[in-house]
Each structure stands twice: as C-alpha cells, then as structure tokens.
C-alpha cells in the first residue's frame, strides 16, 4: 500500500508541477507567475461560483416552499455526476492511454492496478475542482438557511470527496472496455469512439430526463407533498445522489449515518471493482499502444510531385497548424465537439417534451420584430462563444509543446507565424459556426439578411477572443506537457477568452436591448455591432501579431 501511496504522490507532483513550484518558491524565482495563475483561477472560480450561487439560492428558496430545500444538493450532485461522467471520459482516456510517462512506469515492477490508481488520483483531483464549482455555492446557500454543526460539515466534506468517484469509475470502466475491444494500435479511434459514445449518452440522458418531466398535476402534487419526494424523483436515475442528499440533510441522525454509509459503501465497491478490473484490463489495452504500423509503400510519381510542390511560407505554416490540429483527436474533439453538440442540445427540449408547436410559435416570433433581431443577435452570440470555446487560438503555442523549437528555429518572422495561427483559429471558428447556422436556417427559417447578419456579426465578434487568446498563450504557454490533454483541457489559457467573451456578450446584450428599445432600424443595429466587433477585433488582432516577435523572442526552449 505504501508503494501505491508513493506512486499517487509522484503522479500528483508530476501532473500538477508541484516540484517545479516548490523549487521556484525555494529559489524565489518567478513566483509571481504561479501567484498570478492562482489569482486568475480564484477569479474564474468566483465568477462561476457567483453564477451558480444565484441558481443554488433560487433552488433552496424554491425547495423551502415545499419543505425540501435539500433539493439544491440533489441537483448539484446530479450535475456534478453528469459533468464528471462526460468530461471525465476524455480525461480518463488521455490520462490512462496517452501519457508519455507511462513508458517509464510500465517497465517498473509495479502492479497494473497501482499505476492505474495513481493516474486515476490525478483525474480525481481535477474533477474535484470541477465539482467545487457546483458544490461550494450550494453549501453556502443551504447553510445560510439551515445552519450546521460539526457532523454536518464532516458529512459535507465526505460527500464532496466521494461524489465524483462513481461517475469516474463508470467512465474508467468504459475506457478500459473500449481499449480492450478496439485494436490497441488504434488509440485515435478509441478517442473518437469514446467521445461519440459519451456525447450520445449525455444527449440521450438529457432527452430521457426532459421527456420524463410530464404535465401531470396530480403526480406532481404527490411528489411535492412527501418529505424528500421531489428529491427522490429528481435523483431516481442517479445512484447515490439521494443517499448523499439525505446524509447531508439528516446529518447526525441515525438515518443520516445510514445514508452516508450507503453512499460510502456504494462508492467503495465501485472503486474496488474498478481496481480489480484494471489489474486485468489496463495493461491488455495499454501495452503496444505506442506502436503505429507503417505502410512502407513507395509514392507514385504523381504523389511525389504533388507532395513536394512548393507553396508560400504562410500556406506552409497554416497547413502545419491545420494538419497537426485535425490529426490529433484530443485537439480536434476539444475544438469541434462542442460546436456539433450545441445545436442538438438546443433543439432537443422542443422534441423531447413534444413541444413541436412551440417551435412553430418561435418561428412566428422570429418573423416579427424585435424577436427577429434578438434571435439573430443570439445566434451571433453563440458563434462568438463557440469561437472562444474551440480554444484553437488560446492553446496554439501550448499545443506545440516541446516542438516549439522548430517554430523558433525557422527563418520566418514571428508575426507571420502568429498570423497563420490566427487564420487557422478563424477558419476553425467558421467551421464551428456551420452546425449552429444550419440549425438556425433549417429549424427557424429566418430571412437571408438575418442569416448573413448572424454569421458576420458572430465571426467578427470572435476575432477579439481569438487574438486575446493567442496573446495569452504567447505570454504564458504551457510547453512542458506529457499528455496532449494538458495542452488544451488543463490549460488555463483556454478559459480566459471564454470569460472575456462572456463579459463582452453581457455588455452587447445590454447595448442591443437599449438599441431595440430606442427603435433603431434592424440594419442600423446589425451594422453597429458588425462595425464595433470588426474594428475592436482587428485592432486587437494586429496588436497581437505585432507583439509576436517580442513574445517569441522571450520564450527560451
């Protein structure tokens, strides 16, 4: 067991750069960098928690009306479990099968389950951070109302630590199974199939939950009348969430201890089963995974000439970015999966609840003013958000990792390289915009001018986030990673443009409201936003490009 503990500590130090941090603190070297990162992290945690705290307070207040304020915990726990299950699968696959340090660990005389568990521990810490976004505001909202003694706080801590484990165990079993079934040499296929499965699962689940919320007043009354009735209904499909909620709500009572025991036992059984399974399946899917078969076929004359034909420097840089991005499943999925899922998630409630009629009403609304303008600007806002979410620009230096030396070595100005990166990010944003635009055209059937306006305003609005994202990544790139996941998903640079765009969209929504209220013409409103976004975006675009030389020069590799 002590070996397992040592391995867990080693993996945590390696993954989160704790040794580097300690070294820096000891030598008092660039301590401001981790401090700034911690501040930014706290800031984003604060922003997200604030957003969720309003929801949590609302849930507690609403629950109180039916004597069930604990519903806030059930919903938070269900949300955590869903998020961990969906996001966790990517993290689990990449951590278990794509980490470069596995080639060091596997030859050591260690049990497969030990290596597996030590890797799982790092994933768990990541997921606990995610869980905190939902859990902490709920605790604050609920405790303000209900108060709490020592046992209550202890129960909260235990529940918090346990909540992500079950969904992680499910995601891990899925990953182990997939790796066993899929030819071990096709790790990329595993990533894509895993993602498709998880997206289908989450969308299916979403559909199922929405479809099951019926309009039966009698049943609803019954649910609301009984103590924990609402909680049991909401949590019925999520094992453990009801036990966890009851453990918190009834902390210190016999029933509270019983529910905590049940929750603990279920989690422990799941983790033990997972460890046992990993002993059998982990190495079976892992070993040989680095091998990639070669075709070793001589190119035909036509292929040879086509593949050695000269192109411009800019085109060479652009295609390098494009090919490396699209051919690395973790990068491509991180970039485009959200764009694919977003329209489906938007349309689902209408069909899940049999509210096709409401869609028709929406269509009527969008063909009248101001609904039409508002919806067009809404679609533009989604395009802007998708541009920030695809993280192509904000991780573009980090993605190069240790290969950044090539970009530093080639005789090409950093400005040209930055322009190629931003162009790639912009093309990526255009692609991200396709599904939502298609959804807009197909389901809402807006006029041509509204489609053009939504796309142009959306794309011009995305420029700011892309340029700022690239600047941040040039300033603080994460070049030392052992797993491509760290370059995109665990990279804080990727989050900042999203917050920036959210703030910009908040301001824009206010401006749009004022302009519509002042009865500006539709064309004038569209032109205002287009001009505002284009001018701001292009200025920041050129400032970022102009700063590239200095930033590249300052990066020692």
């Amino acid at each position: 067991m002590s070996m397992l503990f040592k391995l867990v500590v080693l993996n945590i130090k390696n993954t989160f750069g704790l040794s580097v941090l300690r070294d820096r603190i000891r030598k008092r070297e660039k301590i401001w960098q981790p401090l700034l990162m911690a501040l930014l992290l706290l800031y984003s945690f604060g922003v997200l928690s604030f957003m969720f705290s309003r929801l949590a307070s609302g849930l507690v207040m609403a629950g109180m009306q039916f004597g069930q304020p604990e519903i806030a915990f059930t919903i938070a726990i269900v949300a955590i479990q869903l998020v961990v299950l969906i996001m966790g699968l990517f993290l689990v696959i990449s951590t278990f099968y794509f980490s470069s340090d596995l080639s060091i660990l596997v030859p050591l005389p260690l049990r497969p389950s030990y290596i597996f568990t030590s890797k799982l521990a790092t994933v768990l810490i990541n997921e606990l951070l995610t869980a905190a976004f939902f859990f902490v505001p709920t605790v604050i909202a609920y405790t303000r109302f209900a108060g709490g003694n020592l046992v209550y706080w202890l129960t909260l801590l235990i529940v918090f630590l346990l909540v992500p484990m079950l969904p992680l165990a499910i995601a891990s079993v899925l990953a182990l199974g997939l790796m066993k079934v899929i030819n071990r040499r096709h790790r990329d296929t595993l990533m894509v199939i895993g993602s498709l499965i998880i997206v289908s699962l989450s969308l299916g689940l979403n559909f199922f939950i929405q479809a099951s919320v019926g309009d039966n007043p009698a049943a609803l009354e019954e649910i609301l009348a009984s103590r924990f009735g609402l909680i049991e209904t909401v949590g019925s499909r999520f094992p453990g969430s009801v036990w966890a909620t009851k453990a918190i709500a009834l902390a210190g009572t016999g029933e509270g201890w019983l529910n905590l025991g049940l929750f603990l036992a279920m989690t422990a059984v799941a983790m033990l089963l997972l460890m046992a399974l990993s002993e059998k399946l982990f190495y079976a899917g892992l070993i040989g995974g680095d091998e990639v078969s070669r075709k070793s076929k001589q190119l035909s004359q036509v292929q040879w000439e086509a593949q050695t034909s000269p192109g411009s420097v800019f085109a060479a840089l652009f295609w390098r970015e494009w090919k490396l991005f699209i051919r690395t499943p973790i990068f491509a999925l991180n970039g485009f999966l959200g764009a694919l899922v977003m329209p489906i998630a938007l349309i689902m409630p209408f069909f899940a609840q049999g509210r096709g009629g409401q869609l028709t009403e929406l269509m009527v609304l969008v063909h009248t003013e101001p609904g039409s303008t508002a919806l067009t600007l809404g679609v533009a806002a989604i395009i802007i958000l998708l541009g920030a979410m695809n993280t192509i620009a904000s991780t573009s230096i980090s993605r190069e990792g240790k290969l950044f030396y090539i970009s530093k070595m080639i005789p090409v100005p950093a400005e040209t390289q930055a322009r190629a990166k931003l162009t790639h990010a912009f093309v990526g944003t255009i692609i991200s915009a396709v599904p939502i635009t298609a959804f807009y055209i197909f389901f809402i059937k807006p006029s041509l001018i509204n489609v053009v306006a939504a796309v142009l305003i959306g794309l011009s609005g995305s420029l700011l986030g892309l340029a700022v994202g690239l600047y941040i990544d040039m300033r603080w790139p994460r070049l030392h990673w052992t797993n491509p996941q760290h370059a995109v998903k665990n990279n804080f640079n990727a989050v900042i443009p999203m917050f920036l765009e959210m703030a910009v969209l908040g301001g824009s929504a206010f401006l749009a409201y004022k302009l519509i209220a002042a009865q500006w013409s539709v064309y004038l409103i569209y032109t205002t936003f287009l001009a505002l976004f284009s001018i701001t975006g292009l200025i920041v675009f050129y400032l970022t490009v102009a700063a590239a030389e200095k930033r590249y020069h300052s990066l020692d590799v």
Binding site: V313, K408, V412, H553
Partner: protein, 241 residues
Amino acid sequence: MLVFDQVSKSYKKGAVKAVDDLSLEVRPGEIFGFLGPNGAGKTTSIKMAVGLLRADAGRITISGYDIAKEPLKAKACLGYVPDNPDLYERLTGLEYLNFIADVYRVPADVRRQRISRMLEMFELTNAVGDLIQSFSHGMQQKLALTGAWLHDPDVLILDEPMVGLDPRSAHLFKDLMREHCDRGKTVFFSTHVLEVAEKLCDRIGIIKKGKLIACGSMDELRDQAKNQESLENIFLELTEQ
C-alpha cells in the same frame, strides 16, 4: 562562418554559469567537433547559436549575421538538428520535409533532388509517405538530418548527430559532412563519440563547466595535453584537471 565572441549564459540569477565567456571561430570548410562532459555547456552553447536561448553577454554570428540582431538572416544560413530529434508526429515524413523546404524557400527542382538523394542514402524512400509517429528513433534522426540539409546551409549545427544512426548510415553521413565542408561550408557538432571526432574533425573544442579549456587540431591538442596519443586520453586528462 560561426563565431562565438565572449558568450556567457547563466541560470538562477547568475548562480550557475552554464557558458562562461566562450570565444571560438569555426572557419569555412571546417568540421568542428565540440566535446565536453555531461552538463559542460555544449547544448546550451548550441541552443544560443541557433536562437533557441538568449545569451546573457557576448555575440554569436552565423555567416556574419548576429543571431540576436538579425535572427532571420542568421537562421536562413543555418541548419540545426537537436540532441533529441522530436518532429511533428502527425505529419508524414514528406509533409515535414516539404514544410521545411517551404519555410526555407527551396525551389521545387532543388528540393526534389535533395530529398531524393538523402532519402535514398538513409533508405527512407519507402517510409517517407508514412506518419512520423510510425518512425523509429533512428529514422526520425535521419529525417531531421535530411530536413537540416535541405536548404544547403552555410553552417550546420548538430547536437549529437550520430545517436540512433545505424553503422552504414553513420558512415555515409560522415562522408556527406566532409563533402559539405569541401564546398566551403561549415559543420559544427557535439558528440561523445571521441573516435568519430578524432577521425572526422578538422578542429576540436573541449568545454568544461562552461569554459572552453582546449581548442585546436588533433596535433595542437596533443601539445596542450603533454603529447597524449589518443583523443580519449587527451579528453580525460584535460577534463579531469
């Protein structure tokens, strides 16, 4: 062609001197071997020469261009292979070479002729259409060397170029270095294989704790080291002092 002029580099706010007042000149037509124990400052010197690290003091010029002041012109004159040839694994070998040819602006007929020749020499012709991730370490090293040679640079800077090469490829590669220098170009490389340095290099520099402790032809080094016969003995004597 390649000049280090009083170059220094330190880490940890000056506490560790990685390179200490290094001055040396590598002339046209010369193969220069750069030797030293682990951690002596070889890779740091090389990284400064190719613009991957900034020198704290001093000046490095490539074909007359200061790498700090005119980096693009200096980089256009050099080819570099690092000690660990990490390349873009998700590109095919040919895609990588064509990328390098594009950024160094190598004309179509010249790139085709040079790529063909190098691939044939390294027996990579059939593999070059495959993804680099399928290449062995040695194959990646050969591909990195091919890329560095593509634009026929004035100065080739190679960090441990023989690592991973099979004996036949290593032999042909040494011939290629000699041929390159016979055309008035320069090769500057670090190595731990003293036999290679002894047989191949016109001059050798030995660095220890960041300082150049010896520099010259084999005969000159023998004089500095009390007439030791082999480079191995000279190296051991000088670096153990």
